[in-house]
């Protein structure tokens, strides 16, 4: 990783939506950065705000009911407040996005070739259709679609799920983006295809030096490809750091819960699968203080105050977390049944 200025710097991003039932605070103060050639995984369950964050970077959440605060700096410009036409030039150009469900993410009435060409020509109005088609073939071959030139004339429903996702990646790459945002790119696919798609992304990073934001809820994917990890819960970042820091020295109980719920081949079969008890809070009326408090077995009085996102492990100044517990206590509390996890009974804080 280069020590140069980051490609993208998100500072205290807040996104809320006005609904007929009240204000939903989907993203409540998120900050992280992405450097060129780096893969940053944004992890969380449904409703954590990870997708909203990703889409806000492209301006896809803008609407009459959306309210934004904070800054997301990309190449010196703020994406959050950028005027629409400026953002449009960036979309699909410098920043591209791959979505979760390839089945519904492609327009069913146009051929694949035409859809890729459409993106190319949106960013280069001088290129001829023939040249654009050539480039499309190049891209499809690069992502491993066999018989690319012929398949240009196929419709989305004529591809399998894995192929469709590759096509989406090809389309996203068509204008050589500097930053690729992938929102759960493998969730809708089965495991073998998943591995191939991740390989594509790895290849991409290597070949172009693009930065990648990978939004996912699957820790297996994170372990496979991420350099740094941002863990989100109920609209806030609760922990962020390098892959190693997170997997070997996790600081937040939610992270312990995530790690603990990974099933392993050597885990004791007689015990029930550990899951984090409870459900994510409503974003309309979130709990006071730490959002994880109602589900956390280690909560104490201080938790009614919102914990700041800071580095609490002096050796790793870039490893941030939002938990009031002392690092010493954390090291003890996070070991459950011989491995990292979240305790199921409330542990009395002595």
């Amino acid at each position: 990783m280069s020590a140069a200025a980051p490609l993208l710097e998100v500072s205290d991003l807040k996104v809320s939506f006005e609904t007929e039932d009240g204000t939903v605070k989907a993203v409540d103060g998120v900050s992280f950065s992405v450097r060129a050639g780096e893969v940053v995984a944004v992890v969380g369950e449904s409703g954590s705000g990870k997708s909203v964050t990703a889409m806000t970077l492209m301006g896809l959440t803008r609407g009459p009911n959306a309210r934004f605060e904070g800054v997301a700096t990309f190449e010196g410009r703020d994406l959050v407040a950028a005027p629409e036409d400026e953002l449009r030039r960036i979309r699909g150009g410098d920043i591209a996005m791959v979505f979760q469900d390839p089945m519904s993410s492609l327009d069913p009435v146009y051929r694949i070739g035409d859809q890729i060409v459409e993106q190319i020509r949106a960013h280069d109005n001088e290129i001829s259709k023939a040249a654009a088609l050539d480039r499309a073939v190049e891209l499809m071959e690069r992502v491993g679609v066999p018989n690319a030139r012929a398949r240009l004339r196929s419709y989305p429903h004529e591809f399998s799920g894995g192929m469709r996702q590759r096509v989406m990646i090809a389309m996203a790459l068509s204008c050589s983006p500097k930053l690729l945002i992938a929102d759960e790119p493998t969730t809708a696919l089965d495991v073998t295809i998943q591995a191939q798609i991740l390989e594509e992304l790895r290849q991409l990073r290597q070949d172009t030096g693009a930065g990648i934001i990978l939004v996912t809820h699957d820790l297996g994917v994170v372990a496979d490809i991420a350099d740094r990890v941002v863990v989100m819960y109920a609209g806030r970042v609760v922990e962020q750091g390098t892959l190693d820091e997170l997997f070997y020295d996790p600081q937040h109980p939610y992270t312990w819960g995530l790690l603990g719920s990974i099933t392993r081949v050597d885990s004791d079969r007689s015990k029930r699968l550990p899951a984090i008890p409870g459900t994510p809070p409503s974003l309309l009326r979130p709990p006071q203080g730490c959002h994880f408090r109602p589900r956390c077995p280690h909560a104490f009085e201080k938790c009614t105050e919102v914990p700041e996102l800071t580095a609490r492990v002096p050796a790793n100044p870039d490893h941030l977390d939002r938990c009031w517990l002392e690092p010493e206590r954390k090291r003890k509390l996070r070991v459950v049944d011989g491995r990292i996890g979240l305790a199921s009974e409330t542990t009395v804080i002595a």
């Binding site: 939506f17 609904t19 409703g47």
Partner: protein
Amino acid sequence: MSAIRSELSVEIPDALLDEASDLPPGVGPYKLAWRRLRRNRVALAFGGLFLLIVVLCLLAPVYSSDIAHQSPNFENITGTVKVGGKTETIVSSSDIPIGPTWQLSHYFLGADQNGRDVAVRVLYGGRNSLEIGAVATLITMVIAILLGLVSGYFRGVLDGIISRALDVIWAYPAVLLGIALGTILAFGGIGPLHGTTLMVPAVVIGVVYIPYVAKPIRGQVLQLREREFVEAARQQGLSHWQIMWGEILPNLSSTIVVFIPLILANAILLEAALSYLGAGVQPPNPSWGTMISEGINLIPASFSLTLVPGLMLVLAVLSVNVFGDGLRDALDPRAKVRIAR
């Protein structure tokens, strides 16, 4: 009207069939719909307007006997009435009836060419039109639900026969079919359906609209029967009828509720059309349609004869439509803001 086809092919969102995912516990989808409906002032206002019209029409006999002192069919061509001090004949020598007198007790809205009180007739006519509309809607819904359930659930030969029959009815333009059946029954008749009884147009209209409801219901039943809870019910040993009644039918309820005002509005319009063409309500019984038909003959001499029943008709149908639309919006759980996940 044939254009109903486009309206009724709009899909009922099946999100109501899934669990309500992010609702507070204990609030079912219908309670939520009711809450949403209550907030829709416009729909409620029009619903109230419709009720008002219904009540007024039901009170027709009261108005007739106590206020206007006229029966709807009482012809009074040569009679006179006092208007603003002057005495005028009800129907002038050049065959032009008087316009509205704005006096509640005498020919409030004027008279028709036979000297009959328009206000009284419009209320009685409304009663007939609304009654026919309501009965027709009932017939349509009950038979269509039955046919849709049976053909969608059992499929096979039964479904084939029912679907073909529905297709044939559906291919006929509604008005033509209505006239054909109406004329035949009025002339020939089957059992009690004969001659000038109001049941004839009611049954005719009811039958005409059956395919428009039965086909979507059948489609939904076809989907529902593949779902797990049906399979589970079979495993439990429930009989076919128990499943249809207890499992499938409740899931159709939102579709059914949305269809009712739609069919009602169209039934009232179809009745007016048939009566206008002479194949619906037979004279001397009043109906908004017959009154408009009679009124058109008097244009340009007198327009109020056409305007009065026409406005009542439009208001009644409009209020049913607006309310029905509000109902559909309330049952549609699509939130105004889609929060990306």
